[in-house]
Symmetry: C2
Subunit: 119 residues, 2 copies
DNA sequence: AAGTTACTCAACCAAATGGTTGACAAAAGC
DNA sequence: GCTTTTGTCAACCATTTGGTTGAGTAACTT
């Protein structure tokens, strides 16, 4: 069910306000009120956003009015997911490039066509 | 408006089916039908998922029935966002650790307290 | 212990999301 | 050229999401 965890993390970061909250928390812890101040939505709305971030494990607090803290470890989870597929995709491109190079070396001339037939 | 782009990318990856599509496309291009086969939802549903991925720039196709291809560059966009705040957060932790170390060095003994006063 | 301040819960609303089915459009195959 | 296959569009439905306001609760202040 770590699947579900990743879903919550990505969903949490899909909202610009929540990404901004994360951005601000990366430079300093802050209370709900402090966090809410810059936005022109209600405090309740920001409180909800923080709950989403908290449920995703991106953020935590020791008590109600304590400053909110960013849980940076979650980033590893995302990075791991991304890296895996990014690398796999790049690997494919490398193989494709190699294949294209090979074809360019072999097909255009009659010489290399005969080489192909011979093999 | 690259803000908006990131939102679409994260939102696209918030769905497990879509993450699975990306995962599969990272090892091989595939047509819509091929991609849809393993899931027990309608082809239309998968087509919609692919549209979401396409709008986020995660995936592309040359024509309707052409194989879908993963656009790996988008990963860079995410990684860049993540790295920035991860590093900022880690930097803060380093400073905090340093501060805690300093306090632990200075406060517990009478000796070091006097050292502080002297400086 | 009482009062204020800071935050959350609940109920509600509009819009977005993920799914369905049925009709249509575009490519391939004959 | 006609037919079949493959994919998309449209309309609809249930659920989720991001916002609101109003009432309640928890935690500092005095």
């Amino acid at each position: 069910m770590s699947e579900d965890r990743l879903s919550r993390v990505f969903a949490a970061l899909a909202d610009p306000t929540r990404r901004d909250l994360v951005a601000r928390l990366s430079s300093a812890d802050a209370t709900v009120g402090e966090l809410a101040a810059p936005y022109d939505v209600s405090l309740q709305a920001v409180s909800k956003h923080l709950k989403v971030l908290e449920d995703a494990g991106l953020v935590s607090r020791e008590s109600r009015r304590a400053p909110v803290r960013l849980e940076a470890e979650v980033f590893d989870l995302m990075t791991k997911w991304i890296d895996r597929y990014q690398q796999q995709a790049e690997e494919r491109y490398r193989r494709l490039d190699a294949l294209l190079d090979e074809m360019q070396d072999s097909t255009p001339t009659r010489e290399s066509s005969r080489e192909q037939d011979a093999s």
